[in-house]
C-alpha cells in the first residue's frame, strides 16, 4: 500500500462507491473528459462511461436539481461544484427542494453535494468560500468537513451511503498537502457522520475546530506545549450537522476553557452556535470566556498580504489561546 493524498482519498471514495453501487453517479462541470478542475475524477469517464460521469453545462441549479430528481428516484448522485463558491447559484435546490423533501413528503433524497472550499490558495472572493454556516443553519442537510485523508475517504463514503442530502466540504488547500499523505486501510471503511475526534489530548484548554484549521490548531497546540507548558486538547468536529454534542461537552467539561477556531467569518458562524451550546449547557464549568478565532466579517480578499491578514493561522490562535489561558 502506498500513501495517498487527501485528494486521492476523495477520488478513491467515489470510485469505490461507484463500483460498489450502480445507483451512484457523478455530475458536474468538467468532471468527465477533463477529470474535474482538480482532477478528482481523472479516469472516471473511461471506467464508468458518460452516463455515470456526466459533464454538465455551467448550470448549478440544473446540476443540484437533477441530483434531487435522481435521488428521489432512488439513485445516489454526487453533484460536484467546481468551486464551492458556486453553490450559491444552486442554493434554492438545496434550501427549498432537497432539505425539506423528506420532512414534508416522507421521500428520502440520498445525495451528496461536494466541492473545493476554503482559502489560502490566492483564490480571491469567489474561489475561497467556507459556506458551511449557510447550510448548518438549515434543518434537513448534513454538513461534513474532513481534515485528513482518512476522514476524506471515510466521510465521503458515509455521505454517499446516507439517505439524506449531505454537503461535503473538501478543503482545496489540503488536496495535495504532502504532510497529509497517509496509508489508508485496504478494506472498505466509513467514518460515521456526526462523530468528532480528538486529534490531540490535553487538560488545560479545548480547541474546537474543523477542516484546514485543525492543522493550524495542532501546530498552535504544539507550540503552547513547548513554550507555555500548556496541554491543549484539539477536537476535530468533522461533522457540523449533526454536531457531536456529546464529544464537545465531554472535552470542555474536563478542560474548562474553550477556544473555537474556524476559517469562516465570525458573525453567525459555527462558533456562535458552539458558544451558545457551551454557555447553556456548561456555564458552571467554564473558567474563562468562550473565545473565537475566525475570519473577520469581510469578504475573502485576493492579495497575499490581505489573505494572510484575513485567514486565521497559528499565530492568531496562539494569541487568543494565551489570553484565554491567563484567566
Amino acid at each position: 500500500m502506498s500513501e495517498v493524498t487527501y485528494l486521492e482519498a476523495i477520488s478513491q471514495a467515489i470510485r469505490e462507491e461507484m463500483r460498489r453501487d450502480e445507483a451512484v453517479f457523478l455530475l458536474g462541470e468538467d468532471v468527465g473528459t477533463y477529470g474535474g478542475a482538480f482532477k478528482v475524477s481523472a479516469g472516471f469517464l473511461e471506467e464508468f462511461g458518460p452516463e455515470r460521469v456526466i459533464d454538465t453545462p455551467m448550470s448549478e441549479a440544473a446540476i443540484i436539481g437533477s441530483a434531487v430528481g435522481a435521488a428521489l428516484m432512488g439513485m445516489r448522485p454526487i453533484a460536484e461544484m467546481q468551486f464551492i463558491d458556486f453553490i450559491a447559484s444552486g442554493f434554492d435546490q438545496i434550501i427549498n427542494m432537497a432539505s425539506k423533501m423528506y420532512w414534508r413528503s416522507g421521500m428520502p433524497v440520498p445525495m451528496v453535494v461536494r466541492g473545493p472550499s476554503g482559502g489560502g490558495t490566492k483564490g480571491g472572493p469567489f474561489h475561497s468560500a467556507s459556506p458551511e454556516a449557510w447550510f448548518f443553519h438549515t434543518p434537513g442537510i448534513k454538513v461534513v468537513v474532513p481534515a485528513t485523508a482518512y476522514d476524506a475517504k471515510g466521510l465521503l463514503k458515509a455521505a454517499i451511503r446516507d439517505n439524506n442530502p449531505v454537503l461535503y466540504l473538501e478543503h482545496k488547500l489540503l488536496y495535495r498537502m504532502p504532510e497529509l499523505r497517509e496509508e489508508l486501510p485496504a478494506e472498505d471503511y466509513v467514518v460515521p457522520i456526526g462523530k468528532a475526534v480528538v486529534r490531540r489530548e490535553g487538560q488545560d484548554m479545548t480547541i474546537l475546530t474543523y477542516g484546514a484549521m485543525v492543522h493550524q490548531s495542532l501546530k498552535a497546540a504544539q507550540t503552547l506545549e513547548e513554550e507555555d507548558d500548556l496541554e491543549v486538547e484539539v477536537l476535530d468536529l468533522r461533522s457540523l450537522a449533526p454536531l457531536d454534542r456529546e464529544a464537545i461537552l465531554e472535552s470542555v467539561k474536563r478542560t474548562n476553557k474553550v477556544l473555537i477556531v474556524h476559517e469562516d467569518t465570525l458573525t453567525g458562524g459555527i462558533g456562535a452556535e458552539l458558544a451558545a451550546i457551551l454557555s447553556e449547557d456548561l456555564f458552571e464549568y467554564l473558567d474563562g470566556p468562550i473565545t473565537r478565532v475566525a475570519a473577520p466579517d469581510a469578504p475573502f480578499p485576493y492579495a497575499p498580504p490581505l489573505e494572510a491578514a484575513y485567514l486565521p493561522d497559528e499565530e492568531k490562535i496562539l494569541t487568543a489561546a494565551r489570553k484565554l489561558a491567563a484567566y
Binding site: I54, S59, G65
Partner: protein, 372 residues
Amino acid sequence: MGLGREDLLQVYYFMRLTRAMEDRTRTLFLQGRVVGGVYTAQGHEATTVGAAMMLGKDDFIVPQHRDLGMHLVRGTSPRAVMCQWLARGNSPTLGRDGQLHIGDIHHGIAPSISMLGESLPVACGIGLTMKMRKRSTIVLAGFGDGAANTGPFHEALNFASVQKLPIVFLIENNGYAYSTPNNKEFAIENLADRAVAYGIPGETVDGNDVLAVIEAVERAIAHVRSGKGPALLECKTFRVRGHSEADKADYVPKELLAEWLKKDPIQRFERYLSEQGILTPENKAEIEQKVKAVVDDAVRFAEESPAPDPATVADYIFAPDGPIAIVGEPGASDSHYVNAIDTRTGEPFTTISNAPAQLHAPKTVPEEVGRR
C-alpha cells in the same frame, strides 16, 4: 388520435372533477376552513387534464401549483388533496405543507415547491434516471409563464436537450404571473419560440381546446419517447381568477376576462361532446353526480381526519438509514426499502393510496388513450 367515446367521457369527467374540487376548495377557503393561500386554475382544465391523459402507465409528472388536473388523472386521491388543503395530520405532508405540494414518486408524481421553475431541474434528474436505467418512459413537467422566466427553466431545458432527456416541458401560459401580464414578462410572441434556443421542437396551441392539447401532447410525446430529447409545448390559456383567492385580479381588463370566460374549456368540450352525441343529458347528470360524490367524500374524509400532533413539530428531519430502492424497478415497493413506504408514519404514502377508497376511483391510471 383515436380517442374512443369512453376515453372522451373520461377526459370530460376529470375536467369536471378538477373544476368541482377547486370550486369546493374555494368555498372552504371563504368559510375560513382553509387557513392558508388557495391557488386554483379555472380555465386550465383542458391543458392539465388533456396532457396527463396522454401518458402511459409508468410515465411521470412533475406538476406545479395549478396542476390539480394532472394530479387527478394520474391517480392522486381527492381525499389526499382535501386533507392537504385542510392541513390534516394524515395529509401527504402530515400538515407540514399546504397546496398541491404533494407527490408519490412510486406512482410517478414528484412534489413541487413554491419556487416556481425549480421543479424543472428535478424533472431532469428523473429523466436522467430513466436514461441511465434504459427505460422508455417519459416525464411531463407542467409550469406557468411565470416559471418560464426563471434561471432554472433555462438551465433545465438546455441540460435536458444536451442530454436528450425524455421530458415534455409544458408551459401553461395563463396570461399573468400574479399581476404581471405577458408583455411585462417577455418580449416575444410565443414562449414556445424559445425552443429554438435549445434545439428542440416547440409548439404553441390553444390551451382551452382539450382536443388540440391532446393532439399536440401526442406529437410532443412521440418525439420525446423516440429518444430524440425533450420538447417544449406552450398551451395558451387564461387564469380567469386571481393569482390566489386573496387576489381580486382587478388589474385584468374586464373585456379580456369576458373574452376568455367565453372560451371556457369545459363548456367548449361539452358543446363538442353534445354535438357528437357523446354527452347526453343522462350521462352528463351521471357524471355530475359522480363528481359531487367524490368531492363530498373527499371533504368529509378530510374534515373527519385528525389535526397534526404538535408534539411532532421537530420530527422527521432526516430519513433513517437503510436500503433505498431504485423507483420503478422490480421489488422497489418492498417495505424493507426506506423509500418504499412513508417511514415517518410506517404507513404507505397517502397521496395515491387512498384512491381505491374513493367512491368512484378512476380505473387506476388511465390507459394510454392516445397511442392506439
